[in-house]
Amino acid sequence: MPEQLLYAMEVSLNGLMAGIMYALVALGFVLIFKASGIFNYAQGVLALFAALTLVGLQQGQVPFAHVINAIFGTDLHHFGWQLPGLVAIALTALVMVGLAILIERLILKHLVNQAPIILFMATIGLAYFLEGLGDVMWGADIKKLDVGLPQGISEMIDTFTFNLFGYGFFIDRLDIVAAVVATALVAALTAFSQYTKYGRALRAVADDHQAALSVGISLRFVWVLVWSIAGFVALVAGIMWGSKSGVQFSLSLIALKALPVLMLGGFTSIPGAIVGGLIIGMGEKLFEFFAGPMIGGATENWFAYVLALVFLVFRPQGLFGERIIERV
């Protein structure tokens, strides 16, 4: 096979892996948007907050240490324990559920029946608040996240492809884990939503609030549930991204890539979020590979948006979104 084609294949594979991250964040958006019509600007920050909390709990960091030390003149920083990765993940998941309950109690409950733009603004506020809270609780430094996921280049794939094509693909083992975990997560979410009563309640609320109330579904409960799930999805995204690039503020910026993914996939479609994420991830890597050198590189910053815009012109409802035909 020609060298160029092999490179392109490797690049696409790497792009697919990046796309999984976008897809995970977009998935969180879609879940909340479907169930409550809220465009949750804070989804990316949720991932950052989850990752920060995970590192903090795992390392036994004292939350709010800076504040406590400043007030009481103490010198706290660590409890002195180190939790196993799985335990820390489980605890963080609980924290995310707690956060979902607080968000419902303190924000959503008071904004029932408000215009979507108001709810959107509320999530912008939430995003900045959580960003600050994460800083104050766990400190603003870049943190290393290691929950025991395999790292480094997969030698197996390297050798396998080398024997096959005479050219070894460099694929990060972490990316493979991310792909497997993301697939499992989507499968679990699908099973949950299709075959359990809570999943059915969730779909019911997404479909028609009034009808959902009439069959005895509490909207507030469903909102807590859906924000908890979105928090959990954010945690998974935070773990993958954090293990790869460290936990830092830029993690919340992957949310900005989720926007073009949503334009592509449609705001209400779970398969759309996945496929959209993969297309954008792969598209931007391939574009950078082929066209980047010709036009000076750094195309990854804008390519996703341009692709989404072009797409919007031809299919405004997204790949899988339902076409809305105005009744006249």
Partner: protein, 273 residues
Amino acid sequence: MNAMNSEGYTTADGRKIGGVMMEMKNITLRFGGVKAITDISFDIREGEIRAIIGPNGAGKSSMLNVISGFYVPQEGEVWFHGQRRAPMKPYEVAQQGIARTFQNIALFEGMSVLDNIMTGRLTLMKTGLFQQAMWWGRAQKEETAHREKVEKVIDFLEIQDIRKTPVGRLPYGLKKRVELARALAAEPKLLLLDEPMAGMNVEEKEDMCRFILDVNDEFGTTIALIEHDMGVVMDLSDRVVVMDYGKKIGDGTPDEVRNNQDVINAYLGVAHD
């Protein structure tokens, strides 16, 4: 009809009607300056088919919405099974065994007929979220048991062949039937139907009438229904409340109501004074 007392009465066709299940006392409901309901009282007895009739805009749907918790009246009390009901959210009312349908049909359009009807059983499913996650098998067993009940409802309403169809694709008459099926799946003590026959053709109306009578007869379900068509109401109901401009202008058996001068005036469009 025998004399009515707190124990109930026996209908002309020999059905036993029990004591008071739901009692509305001096209900007044306003929307801004508009009075949708003015000081209305009436009761619904165990096992009876109770109709609410009246011209358009009389406040019938509003009354049903008060019973099901969608509207909160400014004045008056709602009594259920001999107890005064605190203001409740619609989902809490549903959990008390009160199911309903809507005048403008509120179904889950994107879900299949079967899934729609399954949502009717949500209040009866007991497995908690955590248990559901931990013991998938047990949760699935519960799911299967409920599914069997739902299949009975599907057979009862003769909608076997559309059970997998997305509701959004169904014609109007069938949607109305699916909405009834979802309400029935909850095995309600009290069933509230808002114009179950509106917009149907003659054949569909006859089917719906038969279903309503059968539900009441076979399951002993108490039914309160709103209907426009006087003929239908006379055939179906044991007692009738008549509303006009938010006020109660008649209450009694179909025969009593039919001969009430206020009711005749309202229906003939006699000018109000």
